[in-house]
C-alpha cells in the first residue's frame, strides 16, 4: 500500500516527496507545497486508491524562524480502509494553496486553521474567521499568544444596575 501511494505521487513529480515517517502504525508523507493540489487530485481520482474523504486539516506551530507552520491533512480511503497523513510547510508569508477544489469538506477545516494560526489559503472561496469575532486581531493558537488572552481584546457589555 505504501509503495502504491509513493508510486502515484512520484508520477506527479519525482521531487514531491520530502520525507516519509511511520510511527505506531500511522503513515505520514511530507510533500513539497508546490505540488500539493496535484498530488491531492491524483490521490483522489486514482481508482485503486480512491482517497475520497478528507477527515481533518490542521497546522502545527514549531516556533522556529524557518518553516514555522506545517499544515497537516488527514485523508481516508474507504476502499482500502487506510488512513494517510500528508504534511506540507507553509511558505514565509504563511500562505499555502487551498484544496477546496479537490474536496468540498476542506472548506471549514481551512477556515478554522486560518482563524487559529493565521495561515492564508490561496483560492479559498470564503476565507473568514470561524470561532473568534471577525475583527479580533490575534491568532490564538500561535505559541506567542498567552492562554489567558490579552485583556481588552474582546469587549464585554456594561454592567448597569
Amino acid at each position: 500500500m505504501k509503495d502504491k501511494i509513493l508510486e502515484i505521487i512520484n508520477n506527479v513529480s519525482p521531487d514531491a516527496v520530502l520525507e516519509i515517517e511511520e510511527f505506531r502504525g500511522d503513515l505520514s508523507i511530507k510533500l513539497n507545497p508546490t505540488f500539493l493540489v496535484e498530488v491531492a487530485t491524483a490521490l483522489k481520482s486514482n481508482a485503486e486508491l480512491a482517497f475520497i474523504s478528507i477527515r481533518d486539516i490542521t497546522a502545527i506551530d514549531w516556533a522556529k524562524r524557518k518553516n514555522r507552520f506545517t499544515v497537516v491533512y488527514n485523508v481516508f480511503s474507504f476502499k482500502l480502509n487506510f488512513r494517510l497523513r500528508l504534511k506540507a510547510d507553509a511558505d514565509d508569508n504563511f500562505e499555502i494553496d487551498s484544496v477546496t477544489s479537490v474536496w468540498q469538506g476542506a472548506n471549514w477545516y481551512e477556515r478554522e486553521t486560518y482563524d487559529m494560526y493565521g495561515i492564508k489559503f490561496r483560492n479559498h472561496p470564503d476565507l473568514r474567521r470561524m470561532y473568534m469575532p471577525e475583527e479580533f486581531e490575534y491568532y490564538p493558537l500561535r505559541k506567542e499568544f498567552p492562554v489567558m488572552g490579552i485583556p481588552g481584546s474582546i469587549p464585554l457589555p456594561n454592567k448597569e444596575d
Binding site: 470561532y131 473568534m132 469575532p133 490564538p140 499568544f145 498567552p146 492562554v147 489567558m148 488572552g149 490579552i150 481584546s153 474582546i154 469587549p155 464585554l156 457589555p157 456594561n158 454592567k159 448597569e160 444596575d161
Partner: protein, 173 residues
Amino acid sequence: MGLEAKLAGDGFITTTLDAVIAWARKSSVWPMPMGISCCAIEMMSAVDPKYDMSRFGSEVMRFTPRQCDLMIVAGTVTYKMSHVVRQIYDQMPDPKWVIAMGACTSSGGMYRSYPVVQGIDQFLPVDVYTAGCPPRPENLLNALIEIQKKIGNSKGRDFQDEKYSNAPKAPIG
C-alpha cells in the same frame, strides 16, 4: 407592580398586600433557560419526571424573555456570547432575578483561557450562585428555593419607579 409600589409605608394594609403579592410571585416563578452547554442538560434533567421542577411552580420554561422572571444561566459564557446574554436579560421585564448555575458562570470554572468570561457577574447582577460542575438537579432545585425565599421577603417599595427612572430602555428586537 405600579400601584402597590407607590403605596410606600408600613401600614397594615400595605404589608398584607406585600405579603400576598410576594407569595403569588414566588409560587409561580417562570424560568428562562439560557442553556448554553453541559449545565443545560442537567437543567433539562431537573424538569424530567425524577427531579420534577414543576412541583415548585416552574414547569413553564418559556424561551421568550418577555414572559419570564427568572433567568437561569446554564453553561460557559464566552465573550462572544456575553453580548447575547446581556441583550436577553435587558429584554426581560422587571422584576427579574438571575441564577448563575455551575462553576463556569460563577467564576469561569475550569476554563482559564482567552475566550471565557471569568464569572458572569462581570456584566450581570446575580442573585444566587450554584456550585458544581455540573450541579446536581437537587442543587438547582435548592437554588430555586433560595430565590423563592428571596422573593418572599421582597416588599412593594423595592420596585418603586424612581429607582428606574434613569434606567436605559430595553432594546427592541
